[in-house]
């Protein structure tokens, strides 16, 4: 499936360029952290790569047919979208879509519910869970199909410390199990903790794509990019 090659990728909505032109090749494995100030195009980048948003120009080429690539991806949104069903049914939903037998889907869903600490809430309507629980459920629902690539749009933006820690542990485990994670975040600390690569966007354009070790290496000063350096120092960038 990887590498995914983007050429001249551009997204224009109502005459405004939200992303691009962008030329980038993403390799398999690890966690790529997408950073940048508000309006940099992080969400647009993730949604376009995943196919939720259409690009206006250019191309995204996976190494497998588009349908196959789409089947092997999942997406976790900043605000978790819960199906108006129970926790168990939320977890079995993607499995049933893929044609898994009901009893097998339930078995797997119960295992995942246990892993994310929701085993006691299997029959609870998912929309009634707390924000942190909903995000964990959304992540488990995305991972339950064992995707090769997982996109995450600021998955811990509205969560407290302990919920963030649990989510990060699940993400690290997923990456260790071979899922390629592409995740946007505002949180520099989180990017340092999780990132293997960093993609920095500004006004829809890629400013920097480099290994995290280089970007966060203090002697290297944000990969030698002034804008990235200022962002990492906490300056407000417009």
């Amino acid at each position: 499936m990887f590498p995914v090659v983007m050429q001249d990728l551009t997204v224009v909505v109502r005459g405004k360029t939200l992303l691009g032109p962008l030329d980038l090749t993403l390799e398999a494995g690890g966690i790529t952290v997408v950073m940048g100030p508000n309006g940099a195009g992080k969400t647009t980048f993730l949604k376009t790569c995943h196919g939720v948003m259409r690009h206006s120009r250019g191309s995204i080429n996976w190494q497998v047919p588009v349908d196959q690539a789409a089947q092997a991806q999942s997406f976790v949104f900043q605000s978790p979208i819960m199906l108006r069903r129970s926790v168990l049914e939320n977890l079995t939903y993607p499995l049933r879509l893929q044609g898994m037998a009901k009893h097998k889907a339930i078995e797997l869903a119960e295992t995942w519910a246990k892993r994310i600490g929701l085993a006691q809430h299997l029959t609870t309507p998912a929309p009634r869970l707390s924000g942190g629980e909903q995000q964990k459920l959304a992540l488990a629902r995305a991972l339950i199909t064992k995707p090769q690539c997982l996109f995450l749009d600021e998955p811990t933006a509205s969560l407290d410390g302990s919920a963030t820690k649990e989510i990060e542990a699940l993400l690290q485990e997923a990456a260790a199990n071979g899922t390629t994670l592409i995740m946007s975040t505002h949180n520099v600390g989180q990017a340092k903790r999780l990132g293997d690569h960093v993609l920095f966007l500004h006004q829809g354009k890629p400013i920097l794509y480099a290994p995290a070790s280089q970007v966060f290496d203090e002697s290297n000063k944000g990969g030698q990019n002034e804008l990235v350096q200022r962002f990492l120092q906490g300056d407000i960038i417009e």
């Binding site: 949604k47 995943h50 196919g51 939720v52 349908d67 789409a70 089947q71 991806q73 999942s74 997406f75 949104f77 979208i81 199906l83 108006r84 069903r85 939903y93 993607p94 879509l97 309507p125 929309p127």
Partner: protein, 234 residues
């Protein structure tokens, strides 16, 4: 005021005695309305979901037309169905005029746009909530429609109940296509109209109370089956 008390008393006695005519008319009312409701729901609900999920040419025009059809005057529908089913009409050969089937057809025509319109509003809201998730899960259009219909089932029950309310109280169209024939096509509403025209207000009121009772009972039963109150807001 005396008529109302007389009506109440007569309704009570008719019910207590399980008056055969009352039972027959009530059963026919329910049969016609519930059959029409099932047929209309089977047409309307998938259409409502399709209109929410799919984007195609003239979609907005179709939605506007359906919304306008919610206010269809039943008498005009009755006339239209009558012309279709009359011996010289295009469907005259079916011999449906003055039968229960004709009454069901008329009610289906009346309540289908109403159910589509109400169901579409809830399907549209649910689709805007689910859009990104279902697209990201690479679902097919059929899977999206089925998901909306299942997850929005409580709102759909409300749409169906609105259709039921309109159908059970309908008189103009079914009078025209059914003919209010005793032991054949007479239902509660047409019987009420007949008794009122005869000046038997007490019996008309009694039938009216029974009609209200039936409507309330069906509403309660539907809410109980759907557990709309127990499971709260989704």
């Amino acid at each position: 005021m005396t008529d109302i008390w007389d009506g109440l008393a007569q309704a009570f006695w008719l019910l207590v005695q399980l008056d055969p005519t009352l039972i027959e008319i009530s059963a026919r009312s329910l049969t016609v309305t519930l059959t029409a409701l099932v047929v209309a729901s089977l047409i309307a609900m998938p259409l409502a979901a399709i209109l929410a999920v799919r984007r195609f040419k003239f979609r907005r025009v179709i939605i506007s037309v359906i919304n306008s059809l919610m206010g269809l005057p039943p008498v005009v529908v009755g006339l239209f169905v009558y012309i279709l089913l009359s011996r010289s009409g295009p469907l005259g050969g079916l011999g449906l005029l003055y039968t229960i089937d004709a009454m069901i057809i008329a009610q289906v025509v009346i309540i289908t746009p109403l159910i589509i319109s109400i169901a579409h509003q809830s399907m549209r809201d649910l689709w805007s909530e689910y859009h990104d998730l279902l697209i990201s899960m690479n679902t097919t259009t059929t899977q999206r429609i089925l998901t909306l219909l299942w997850d929005g089932r409580r709102a759909l029950i409300t749409a169906a109940l609105a259709g039921f309310g309109r159908a059970i109280g309908e008189v103009g169209a079914i009078m025209i296509v059914g003919g209010n024939i005793e032991n054949a096509t007479r239902v509660l509403t047409t019987a009420i109209a007949l008794e009122t025209s005869k000046g038997d207000f007490a019996l008309a009121l009694a039938l009216g109370f029974v009609l209200i009772l039936l409507a309330v009972a069906v509403n309660f039963a539907t809410h109980w089956v759907g557990r709309t109150e127990r499971e709260g807001k989704w």
